[in-house]
């Protein structure tokens, strides 16, 4: 929301993470990981330009759908072909 002049700092500093931008709304196709087949090589994690793939404590791949834009890189690079891109509804 737009702030009034009194509520703004003296300079427009960037103090908030861009993670508040929910870029997941851009997505028209959605990556779905087949955890069964995943061998946890993390190739997908490595190449995601949106930092939208996380590794959980067990070492599993998690897709952050709030930010994943659906570029399809993870699908393209997965050596196990265990990511599938499906149309968003």
């Amino acid at each position: 929301m737009a702030k009034s002049v009194e509520d703004l700092p003296y300079i427009p500093l960037m103090s908030e993470s861009s993670a508040v931008n929910k870029t997941g709304v851009w997505r028209v196709i959605r990556p779905i990981v087949n955890q069964e087949e995943c061998n946890q090589c993390y190739t997908c994690w490595k190449f995601c330009p949106d930092v939208a793939i996380q590794i959980d404590e067990e070492g599993n791949i998690l897709i952050d759908y709030d930010h994943c834009k659906g570029c399809g890189i993870c699908e393209a690079v997965c050596p196990k072909n265990c990511i599938e891109m499906v149309k968003e509804e």
């Binding site: 709304v25 851009w26 997505r27 028209v28 149309k87």
Partner: protein, 182 residues
């Protein structure tokens, strides 16, 4: 003055659509003005564009806040953008959707039209299923549903201004003109 707002995604051609519509109305000796919402949006991000049509020169250059029509090129946007914001009482929303108008829930006080522009576009070789170029199709539908611009003018304007595949685009518009439901 008639005011139309477009919602689409970066790269889908909403701005081109707003211009083609303006050019079509211009062929009918209307005064027109169309412009994008001035942002820095990238491909995929939601974008907005405007078209104004009038019988006299349009001096007011401010944004459209109370449109007569809203055209939504990508139905998935409905979930993330308040597409009917400011829409005039009894205005119309035209959606690219497989659904029928009556199945769309967007609120009261305005009309709804739908057309499966994606299907039409893909059928004419305009983009792919996952990245269809629906702007011509949806304009064809708009012509019929709104009655604000003749499909002939639209066709002429598409033939002149489409960035590529002129004939296919014109054909898609004609087909969508027939298929729109409202």
């Amino acid at each position: 003055m008639i005011q139309i707002r477009f919602h689409g995604r970066g790269g889908q051609g909403s701005v081109v659509a707003s211009n083609i519509l303006a050019a079509a109305a211009f062929l009918e000796e209307k005064w027109v003005q169309s412009f994008p919402f001035f942002g820095v949006e990238r491909r995929g991000a939601p974008v907005t564009a405007y078209t104004k049509i009038d019988d006299k020169p349009i001096w007011d250059r401010s944004e459209i806040t109370e449109p007569d029509y809203v055209i939504v090129l990508d139905a998935s946007l409905v979930a993330v953008v308040d597409v009917t914001h400011g829409l005039k009482e009894n205005g119309m929303v035209l959606l690219n959707s497989e659904s029928k108008p009556e199945d769309i829930e967007l609120g009261d006080g305005f009309r709804i039209a739908t057309v499966d522009a994606t299907e039409v576009a893909v059928a004419h070789g305009l983009g792919s299923k996952s990245a269809p170029i629906v702007n011509s199709a949806i304009l064809g539908a708009f012509s019929k549903a709104s009655g604000e611009v003749d499909i002939k003018s639209l066709e002429a304007s598409i033939l002149k201004m489409a960035p590529a595949k002129h004939k296919e685009n014109a054909a898609a518009a004609l087909e969508a003109y027939e298929k729109v439901q409202f």
